[in-house]
Structures are given as structure tokens and as C-alpha cells.
């Protein structure tokens, strides 16, 4: 059940009505409804994977309680390791088994050996990367004594499987979401306004901007070796915007849906293309993941506490693992590695006056950041390393004639809707507003007009819907 499908348009209003019609907003009943609806939502993708979700939830719920009840640190550690290893094993098996086997075969062949281990036909359970991180953050927080274990199974299950964020985040923390699950939610008109405005803008970002950009991007990436350098550069720029509007659009719908149910979910994007450095970019891009990686991986590895060299190592490792988290392909590892490298370089040159100069003239920083991000995304988008290398090679080949365009009408629409999206982001930037709270900050009449205008733009310009990019992860 996609957020931009007719099914969701029927499913959500029913849940919304039932949820708020519960007398006195009784939390227990509301949570039971959220639990059932979240599992139904997940079963709509593939009911077989429901068992995996239930198992993962039960595992962390049970080990969490055991950790809290442990009499000594060793016992606690054992339960902690059981949870972490089991979680990672499931993720590893479903997401990375074939990747590692195929990489092993390829390496053996290159070294002159003939290995023949079996690959399996494994379907990636939707959302596994996201709910595994939910579970992991929960057990790590208990292990680090940041929170206490949750004793109510339904409450914990709602934290893991809350349907707005079940399949592609934002990646929530137990410290942030569990208290909201346990406390009474009050309907407020301002939160309702914020929610519907954010959902509408999210839909526009996805089905109009991202899907329009996808037309040219998909066309070029299908056979990059027949395009000139300018077309490839245009496709790389378009993809950087496509993935932003696709995932930010998804996050807007998720956060807006959460708001309509009385929840404040973590912000996931904060105008990342207005970052003046890669370091700042990662504070604005897929924030729920980047902060997760910072808190549960980078800092756990030692962060910047053990000297410069170890800081660089930790940064690189964090970004490589972050890259691999996205998918079982070397392209993601390279993408993560590139970002790790950029971050290390920035850390190294930060005291330098040139860097300070760049920070002062912010528009240069925007361009610098965007170019590096768009470049790294070439690896992210390409089906394999060879294709990405072809892209990069042909971009640098100097064939800078006019870009090849097959459908001028589609291109015109793409550019216009991209400009609308970018102008809106610029407005948010200039007025220093966040999309999460825009609905309650502007006048009611302005909000109504903005929503109606956005809906009409969707009617006139929506492109054929493709799946959300991050659903594959």
C-alpha cells in the first residue's frame, strides 16, 4: 500500500476517524487500533513478512525486559548481544546474503579459484532496514541505561511498526517515540493544519516533481553510453533533485500522517541543498539516519575522541556502513565511501582560511556541496560500478553539446515543476520556516489556498507514479 495510492486514500481516513472517535482518546484502545492497522498496512505489501516483523518485535521486546531485569552487567551484555546478533543476522541474510556470495565468487574467480556456493532467491522484506534500526536503537539505549525496557507489548509493537514510518522511516528513537505512544494524544486544529499541508506538499514533491524528473533520469541511465556529456550532467543533476523530492516527499507524508494521529515524528530533511559543506549536508539530509549513525555507530566507535587518524577512520567506516545499509551493491559502498572521504577532507581543511572563505560566500558553498553530492549520487543511482564509471568517464570526455532531449513537452514540465519546488524551498529558507510547522504558522486562508493550488498543480502535472526510491532499502 503506497502512500500515493488510492488504497491509502481509503485506508487512512478510516483509521483517522476510528482513532479519534475512540471515547476520551483512550490511549490503550488507540494503540490497539494503531497496532492492528500497522500490521494490516504491512501485510498489504506481503503478509508472509509479517512473521519476520512479529519475530523481530518479540525478540527486542523480550531481550529488552531481560536486560532490564539482569542482575549484573555480564548477563545484560549476553541478552544485548543475543538481540544485536539476531537482528543483524536477519538483516544480513535477507539483504546481503546474495551480495556477499556473489562478491566472494567474483573475487575467487579473479584470484583463479573456482568457488561455487549457492545463491538463493531471496525477496527483501519491505522496511526491514528501517525497523531493524528501530529495534537496535531500543536495545542499545537500554544497554546504555538511557531508557528502561517497555513492559507493554502493544506499546512497544506500535513503536516498531507505526505504519506512517514502517517502510521507509523516519528512523525513530525509543526515547522520542515511546513516550508519545504511552501518553494521551490530544487532537489540535493547528496540528491538523500542519499535517494536511505537509501531506499535500509531500505528495506534490513525489508525484509531480520527483516522478517528472524520473522520466529523463531513467531514460539516460538505461543506456548512458549513447549520451553526450551534457545529457549525463543534466541527468546527474536531475537525479540529485529526484531523490531529494522523492524521499523528502515520502517523509512529509509520513510526518504529516503522524501529525494527524497526534504524533511528532523526527524531521528527516531540512533543505539539504542549502548546505554549504558536506558536513552540513549530512545534518540536513536523511537526518534520522545520519543522527542514528552518529549516535549508535560513529560515537560507539570512538567518534573524534582518540586523535585525528582514528576520527578519519571512524568517519570513513560510518559512511561505508551507512552506504551499505542502503543496499546490497558495491555502488552504495562507493557512494558511502565518497561521502566519508569528503567529510574527512573537510575535517582536515576546516582550520584552513580557504574553507572559511567558502563558508562566508555561501552561494559558492551551495555549489560546491551540490556538485559533490550530485557526483556521488551517480554511483548511488547506477545499477553497477561499471555503469557509474561509464557515466563519469563520458561526463569528463568533454562532449559538451546541447543535451539530448526526446520529449520537449516533458522536459518543459520537468523544469517548471522543479522551479516551483525549488522556489518553495527557497521561501522556506528565506523566511526561516520549517515545513513541519508551516500549517500553523501561516494564516488559515493562506493554508487553504496553498493546499488547493498544490492539488490543482498535481491534477495538471502529476507524472506516472513510480515507487518511492527508499522503499527498496
Amino acid at each position: 500500500m503506497l502512500f500515493n495510492s488510492a488504497h491509502f486514500a481509503i485506508f487512512f481516513p478510516i483509521i483517522f476517524l476510528l482513532y479519534w472517535l475512540i471515547p476520551n482518546n483512550r490511549v490503550k484502545l488507540q494503540n490497539i487500533l494503531l497496532f492492528i492497522s500497522s500490521y494490516f498496512f504491512y501485510a498489504c505489501w506481503d503478509w508472509r513478512f509479517l512473521f519476520l516483523l512479529i519475530f523481530s518485535t518479540l525478540l527486542d521486546y523480550f531481550t529488552g525486559i531481560q536486560m532490564s531485569n539482569s542482575k549484573n552487567q555480564d548477563q545484560k551484555k549476553i541478552w544485548f548481544l543475543i538481540s544485536v546478533i539476531t537482528n543483524l543476522s536477519f538483516l544480513g541474510f535477507f539483504k546481503y546474503y546474495n551480495f556477499f556470495i556473489e562478491s566472494f565468487i567474483s573475487l575467487s574467480t579473479k584470484l583463479g579459484f573456482h568457488a561455487n556456493p549457492h545463491t538463493l532467491k531471496i525477496i527483501l522484506p519491505v522496511g526491514i532496514s528501517f525497523y531493524t534500526l528501530h529495534g537496535l536503537s531500543y536495545v542499545i539505549d537500554i544497554y546504555r541505561n538511557r531508557i528502561k525496557a517497555e513492559n507493554n507489548f502493544i506499546d512497544y509493537a506500535v513503536f516498531v511498526s507505526f505504519f506512517p514510518l514502517l517502510v521507509a522511516g523516519p528512523i525513530e528513537r525509543a526515547t522520542h517515540l515511546l513516550p508519545q505512544v504511552k501518553s494521551k494524544r490530544i487532537f489540535s486544529n493547528s496540528r491538523f493544519n500542519e499535517g494536511i499541508l505537509q501531506i499535500t506538499i509531500g505528495l506534490f514533491r513525489k508525484i509531480v516533481i520527483a516522478d517528472s524528473l524520473a522520466i529523463y533520469v531513467d531514460w539516460v541511465y538505461r543506456e548512458p553510453n549513447i549520451f553526450n556529456s551534457s545529457s549525463l550532467i543534466l541527468a546527474a543533476i536531475f537525479y540529485a533533485f529526484q531523490i531529494y523530492y522523492d524521499f523528502a516527499g515520502y517523509s512529509d507524508i509520513a510526518i504529516g500522517t503522524g501529525k494527524l494521529l497526534g504524533f511528532d515524528l523526527l524531521q528527516n530533511f531540512n533543505l539539504p541543498y542549502f548546505a554549504t559543506s558536506i558536513t552540513e549536508f549530512w545534518r540536513k539530509w536523511h537526518m534520522s539516519l545520519s543522527y542514528w549513525l552518529r549516535d549508535y555507530l560513529y560515537i560507539e566507535l570512538g567518534g573524534n575522541r582518540n586523535g585525528k587518524l582514528k576520527t578519519y577512520r571512524n568517519l570513513l567506516l560510518t559512511m561505508l556502513i551507512g552506504g551499505l545499509w542502503h543496499g546490497s551493491n558495491w555502488t552504495f559502498v562507493v557512494w558511502g565511501g565518497l561521502h566519508g572521504l569528503f567529510l574527512c577532507i573537510e575535517k582536515y581543511v576546516r582550520p584552513n582560511s580557504y574553507y572559511k572563505f567558502l563558508k562566508k560566500i555561501s552561494y559558492l558553498g551551495y555549489i560546491y556541496t551540490f556538485v559533490l553530492v550530485a557526483f556521488a549520487f551517480i554511483y548511488f543511482r547506477s545499477p553497477d560500478i561499471q555503469t557509474a564509471n561509464v557515466m563519469v568517464g563520458r561526463i569528463l570526455s568533454g562532449n559538451y553539446q546541447l543535451p539530448i532531449i526526446s520529449d520537449y513537452n516533458a522536459m518543459l514540465i520537468t523544469i517548471v515543476v522543479l522551479m516551483i519546488g525549488f522556489t518553495f524551498d527557497l521561501y522556506l529558507r528565506i523566511t526561516n520556516q520549517s515545513i513541519e510547522y508551516l500549517g500553523s504558522k501561516i494564516k488559515f486562508s493562506s493554508m487553504i489556498i496553498l493546499i488547493s493550488f498544490t492539488i490543482m498543480l498535481m491534477v495538471l502535472f502529476f507524472a506516472n507514479s513510480t515507487n518511492f526510491i527508499y522503499f527498496q532499502f
Binding site: 479519534w20 487532537f187 486544529n189 491538523f192 513537452n409 514540465i413 493546499i451 488547493s452 491534477v459 495538471l460
Partner: protein, 316 residues
């Protein structure tokens, strides 16, 4: 949720729906006014042009880009029009043919793609090109609804019909791309240097794809054939089907199957898939499925020659 909240939610939603409904109708009727005067471009112009001349021409050509780019109708008959459109197949062709209301004798030359006819997934999606007339032509509405190809929101948002066409329509309204009174619907183009290079690379690196053991006619396509036969019988139309040239077509099973089907249905069918098998000049081609202008002119002459020789009463 208290009464105030319920009032707020309902009030907000009703307000948004009302504004959208009114704005939508304003857009729809304005765009109707504009688009009715557009006769150029593919967004709506060619369809409008066709609707204007369909009753008066003796010969009409239908099909996909492989009709549009391959057949110069003027060579076949001076009273003719090529209604071929990119990515349009048998469902679209059947509907636009059924829009012809007269019972005068006319020749309908229909290009068919075996790749679509034998594609089990083909569901008539190409009918979406007619959505632009969904609320204005009962026959088009009926055909689109029959195949369930209308967006469920189309009943509320009428201007969804114009989805992604606005710029094409407005630009052609402000500045028509060509003089439509001289346009015959034939859009063959010389390949660009880039296209030539791509095609040469394709030929150089072409590897056999392999052929299926059997092919099955798509049910929708079969129904379209039956509807066309029925329509032609009741309206004095002569149907001629053909397949257009394809570069180095490997598989013949679909051609054979199509041949036996048309024989069974007693239809006139000409297979030109291999017309350029012995004329190996790459100048004839833009890509493996489309001819260049040179190739298209050659092909149309060949088509005419073949029709004059083997088609009963051609031209009518």
C-alpha cells in the same frame, strides 16, 4: 476530538474540496476553449485535425510511430491522412476508427505491431491519449471506461484530462508548429548524427536475443480485431492490415501466427517486416524499429505497389 475540532476538520476539507472543484472547472472549460482551436502538435492537435477531416478522406492510415513515421499517405492517395501516433496500438486505433460516423466507402490502412498483439500484458493503456476528450465524447468515454483506463479522480477533477498536456496545447495555440491545412500526418525525419552513430553501434554490437517457443494472442487485441471487422462491415469500410519493417527481425513465430490469424478472420494482411532484408543500407533506418525519411519513402512506394497488385479494389 470535540465538536469544535470536528467542525474545523469538516470545514477545512469542504473548503478545500469546493475551491478545487470550482478551480478545476474553470481550468477545464478554459482549456477546452483553447484546445478546440489547436490543430498542431501531439498533445491534442493531431487528434483535433483527425476529428475534422476523418469523414472526408478516402484513405486513412492508423497505427503507432511505425505508421506515423513510415507511411506517406499522399503517395498512396491524394485524399488521405496518416493518424499514426507514437506508442498507440490496437485499442487506440479501434476507438479512433469507431469515431468515423459516415457510411461512405473508405480505406483504413492499419499498421499492427506483433510485439503488442502477442504481449499478454497489453491492456489498452494507449487509450490514455484519448483522455483529453473523456468528458466531451461519449464514445471515447465508453471505450475508456470499458477498459477501466480512467483515473478514479477524473470524475471529480475534470481537468485531469489535460494532465501533462497544458504546455503542449498552449504553445501550439500561441504559435502553431506547422500549417495544419498542408499536414498529412506523416512525420518522417532524417536521423541526426547522434542517432546515426547510436544505430551504427547497435548494428555492430547486435547479439541474438532468442525467440519464444510459442506466442499467444492477447485477448484484448483479438476483441479489437472482431470489433473492427464488425464496424467495417456495417459502415462500408475496407480494412487492410500490415506490419511495418523491422531491422533484422529474428523471430518469425509471431509473424506466422499473425498470418494464420488474419487468414482465419478473412482479413487482408501484408507482412513488410523483412522488406529491407536485402537493402542493407543503414541510411534507411533511424533505429531498429523506425525508418529514416529515405527508408519511409521507399517503403511507402513498396506498400503502394504491393497493395495495387494484391489488394482487392485498392484504392476504393
Amino acid at each position: 476530538m470535540n465538536v469544535k475540532n470536528i467542525k474545523h476538520v469538516l470545514g477545512t476539507l469542504i473548503l478545500i474540496c469546493s475551491i478545487c472543484y470550482i478551480t478545476d472547472k474553470l481550468f477545464f472549460f478554459t482549456l477546452n476553449k483553447i484546445s478546440d482551436n489547436v490543430y498542431t502538435g501531439l498533445a491534442i492537435g493531431k487528434l483535433n485535425h483527425y476529428l475534422k477531416i476523418k469523414e472526408s478522406k478516402k484513405l486513412l492510415v492508423f497505427g503507432s510511430s511505425r505508421a506515423n513515421l513510415h507511411v506517406d499517405p499522399y503517395i498512396l492517395d491524394t485524399s488521405s491522412f496518416n493518424m499514426g501516433l507514437n506508442a498507440r496500438n490496437i485499442a487506440f486505433v479501434t476507438t479512433v476508427i469507431k469515431l468515423i460516423e459516415n457510411k461512405k466507402p473508405q480505406t483504413l490502412l492499419i499498421q499492427i505491431d506483433d510485439s503488442t498483439l502477442f504481449n499478454e500484458d497489453y491492456d489498452g493503456k494507449d487509450l490514455d491519449a484519448l483522455l483529453v476528450k473523456y468528458h466531451r465524447n461519449p464514445l471515447i468515454k465508453k471505450e475508456i471506461d470499458k477498459l477501466n483506463k480512467a483515473n478514479p479522480f477524473l470524475n471529480f477533477f475534470w481537468s485531469l484530462s489535460y494532465n501533462n498536456r497544458i504546455f503542449g496545447i498552449i504553445l501550439n495555440y500561441i504559435k502553431p508548429k506547422y500549417d495544419y491545412t498542408k499536414y498529412r500526418g506523416f512525420d518522417a525525419m532524417e536521423p541526426t548524427e547522434h542517432e546515426k552513430e547510436v544505430f551504427q553501434n547497435f548494428v555492430k554490437n547486435k547479439k541474438p536475443k532468442g525467440c519464444p517457443d510459442s506466442v499467444h494472442l492477447n485477448k484484448l487485441s483479438y476483441n479489437c480485431f472482431l470489433e473492427l471487422i464488425e464496424y467495417a462491415k456495417n459502415n462500408n469500410k475496407k480494412l487492410i492490415f500490415f506490419t511495418a519493417p523491422f531491422y533484422d527481425d529474428e523471430c518469425k513465430i509471431d509473424n506466422e501466427e499473425l498470418f494464420s490469424l488474419t487468414k482465419k478472420l478473412n482479413l487482408e494482411y501484408f507482412d513488410f517486416t523483412d522488406t529491407f532484408r536485402y537493402d542493407t543500407s543503414l541510411d534507411n533506418w533511424r533505429d531498429e524499429a523506425h525508418l529514416s525519411k529515405i527508408g519511409a519513402i521507399k517503403f511507402t512506394h513498396k506498400l503502394k505497389e504491393e497493395l495495387l497488385k494484391n489488394s482487392k479494389n485498392f484504392p476504393l
